[in-house]
């Protein structure tokens, strides 16, 4: 078990292109950190720098306070699970798991090796497959063998490089909770690279969002979701993603392409002086105005819009509103989409409506928006003008307390709790949205839908 400190890490390739640029992260002992970002953001490179498969151009990498920049991978005592599992095909499952022990010559007697391997196999339910070759295993089993190889040697930290991306959606969900429980039970420091934000939100104690080699924000999933530091993080985290509407601010009135919105004075004050801002609205901040309870009505603002179509999902439904931004704004939105690996879509707003809503495509409808939660972004710098840093820090502090509690529980009971991660309900704070469900129940549903989306 160890803490890992990344101190202004830089990775430059031969052509001078910085794949990782000045990234600093403090990873506490036993913490589960997720590195997430669009492809090419340097997350895998960063992981490989930690494990020692990539040289570090500049900066310091400390493991338990010791600088390990120049140490070979084998001297760092880290375990890594590769995307393609990297099992040794000529060895049986047993020998695959025993491989690291056999390399440490003389450290383990044959009995010890046998005991450790059997234990690891039992943990991962591989006991029946020990004498088989990797070629005869299913994807999920191979993945477990790869993890067995990691846990058998009691490494200081686990590093995962998109370990689930080769599995089908159902198995992925199952393995996700297994990894989460295993990490809690062993209490081992873990760094996990993924591009799947469901994994990022559910597994991580803290999530580091990277873009083009630069760290954008590192915080608990809830802080990322509720208090994103800039446009990129806001757009990257959440599925369906946050809507961005170009708007001009006049007093406390936001003039947008879908209508005028009254926003709270506090928010307006923070954006004062900016002529053009981008309004960031999560889909679930919207609701069918007819279904909003009266006492909540005053928390938001209503506008009329014509939905192009709706998608009913059972627990909720999505509605789509097209809008036509000014050309320079369209350019901004497109470049934002490019940053996030998405296609340049026609500008539209996605609204989440209650499943009971009768609003249908093509008809004019009155829609309510919870203006307390929206964020205003600087159109030029992308900075979040309305971010409440204190509230965000509070969320991350809460998350770390929960983590400590979970760790203690998991290790006390000897086996993991059924509930992995626990930070998945990023959409809480939803209370204003639905008169039918209580907040938490609905939040869970939204997360599940998000999962489906990212899996597709």
């Amino acid at each position: 078990m160890a803490s890992i400190t990344l101190n202004h890490l830089v990775k430059k390739y031969g052509d001078g292109f910085p794949a990782v640029n000045d990234v600093s992260i403090d990873i506490a002992d036993g913490e589960f950190i997720i590195l997430v970002g669009p492809s090419g953001c340097g997350k895998s490179t960063l992981l490989r720098m930690i494990v020692g498969l990539e040289d570090i151009t500049d900066g310091d990498l400390l493991i338990d306070g010791q600088r390990v920049n120049d140490k070979a991978p084998r001297d760092r005592n880290l375990a890594m699970v590769f995307q393609n599992y990297a099992l040794y095909p000529h060895l049986t499952v047993y020998e695959n798991i025993a491989f690291p022990l056999r390399l440490a010559k003389g450290k383990h007697s044959e009995d010890q090796v046998d005991k450790l391997v059997t234990e690891a196999a039992a943990t991962l339910e591989l006991t029946d497959h020990l004498q088989r070759k990797p070629a005869n295993l299913s994807g999920g089993q191979r993945q477990r063998v790869a993890m067995g190889r990691a846990i058998v040697r009691q490494a200081d930290a686990f590093l995962f490089d998109e370990p689930l991306s080769n599995l089908d959606a159902k198995l992925r969900g199952q393995m996700r909770s297994e990894i989460s429980q295993m990490q809690r039970r062993l209490g081992v420091t873990s760094v996990y690279v993924t591009h799947d934000q469901t994994e990022a939100m559910t597994l991580g104690d803290r999530v580091a969002v990277l873009k083009k080699g630069e760290l954008q924000q590192i915080a608990s999933p809830r802080e990322l979701y509720e208090q994103p530091v800039n446009l990129f993080v806001a757009g990257f985290i959440g599925s369906p993603s946050m809507n961005f509407l170009p708007a001009t601010l006049e007093g406390t009135t936001l003039k947008t392409a879908i209508g005028d919105l009254q926003i709270p004075e506090g928010k307006a004050a923070k954006a004062a002086g900016k002529k053009v801002v981008l309004v960031g609205v999560r889909p679930e901040f919207f609701e069918d105005a007819k279904l909003v309870e009266d006492h909540k009505m005053s928390n938001g603002s209503t506008f009329t819009a014509t939905l192009t179509h709706t998608e009913w999902l059972g627990n909720e439904q999505y509605g789509y509103i097209n809008f036509d931004p000014a050309p320079e704004m369209r350019e901004l939105l497109n470049s934002l989409a490019r940053d996030m690996d998405a296609d340049e879509l026609r500008p539209q707003v996605v609204v989440t409506l209650d499943a009971a809503s009768r609003i249908r495509g093509g008809r004019e409808a009155e829609i309510w928006l919870d203006t307390r939660k929206l964020h205003l972004f600087d159109a030029e710098t992308g900075e979040n003008l309305t971010r409440d840093a204190e509230a965000g820090a509070e969320l991350t502090r809460e998350a770390s307390e929960e983590r400590a509690e979970e760790l203690a529980n998991a290790q006390q009971s000897g086996e993991g709790q059924g509930h992995g991660g626990g930070f998945g309900s990023g959409t809480s704070g939803q209370a204003g949205g639905s008169p039918v469900d209580a907040g938490p129940g609905r939040a869970g549903g939204a997360t599940a839908a998000g999962g489906k989306h990212s899996a597709g």
Binding site: V51, A72, P73, A86, P89, P100, L103, A104, A135, N166
Partner: protein
């Protein structure tokens, strides 16, 4: 469906038999000839005439007059081919590994040079080599044959092995390094076992090339000190100058074929088995 598949099977069977006959008929013919007595050679029949089948040809080359010529040649051939193969495979393994894994200037040059060398006609090098070898004292020695055989076997070994190494996922080696292996251990414990089928295949190809060579064998040797079998066959003589040594040559040819057949049978599994399946996502 069943109809067409039976039809297919029959068709394939016929084609297979035809190809087998085409490929094996000469071998069978030589085998039959090797059991014929000298007087039976011109009988015009495929098999030795009944009652006249004899092992005298084998006796002649193994224990009889031609023993000295043949057995020493056999020893030379086996020794020289094995040594040349071994050196070629070891060098080619390291070279191909570097080519497949590392990025260094001149990588393309190494590959193209290897190809160019293998394209170069053997016959055009023989005369200069002959003079050179005589001057420096390599003429009619094992080393004098091993070196030119390396020039034949190395290029093809490097090419096949480089292609083979490229297929082995690099992640395996990195995984081994993370698991605590040194670079050498990672190579030996993760890569070599996977490369084994490729190395065996390459070794067998290299051995065939060295084993079958005739031009170098006959040009760079003069005595039994280094003369390999293909060259020695040309020096067989009949019992008298009017008698062709066909029977003895056939017997020698059969004996020479045996190691090759044995090799293929022995390493068949390594050649065929696709060990890499299951290493990565399947």
């Amino acid at each position: 469906m069943t109809n067409s598949s039976t039809k297919n099977k029959v068709l394939w069977a016929i084609v297979t038999v035809l190809v087998l006959i085409y490929a094996l008929f000469p071998v069978l013919s030589i085998l039959a000839t090797s059991f014929k007595s000298p007087s039976d050679l011109t009988s015009g029949k495929f098999l030795p005439s009944s009652g006249a089948a004899t092992t005298s040809n084998y006796e002649q080359i193994l224990v009889g007059d031609a023993q000295g010529l043949f057995l020493s040649a056999l020893r030379n051939s086996i020794g020289i081919s094995l040594i040349a193969t071994f050196i070629a495979v070891v060098l080619a393994t390291l070279c191909a590994y570097a080519i497949a894994r590392l990025d260094f200037p001149g990588k393309k040059l190494v590959l193209t040079t290897a190809l160019a060398v293998s394209i170069f006609p053997v016959i055009s090098i023989v005369t200069p080599l002959f003079n050179l070898w005589r001057t420096i004292g390599l003429y009619d020695t094992w080393l004098g044959l091993i070196i030119p055989y390396l020039s034949l076997t190395l290029p093809i070994s490097i090419w096949t092995l480089a292609a083979f190494f490229r297929q082995i996922p690099w992640e395996l080696e990195q995984a081994a390094q993370v698991d605590g292996a040194t670079t050498w251990q990672a190579f030996r414990k993760a890569i070599v076992p996977l490369a084994a089928p490729g190395v065996f295949t390459t070794a067998i190809i290299a051995f065939f090339i060295a084993w079958n060579d005739f031009v170098y064998g006959i040009s760079l040797t003069s005595t039994e000190a280094a003369r390999p079998v293909p060259a020695a066959l040309a020096f067989f003589t009949g019992a008298s100058q009017f008698e062709a040594p066909t029977g003895a040559i056939s017997a020698a040819a059969i004996i020479v074929t045996i190691p090759i057949v044995l090799l293929v049978l022995l390493f068949q599994r390594q050649i065929v088995s696709g060990l890499t399946s299951g290493a990565v996502k399947g």
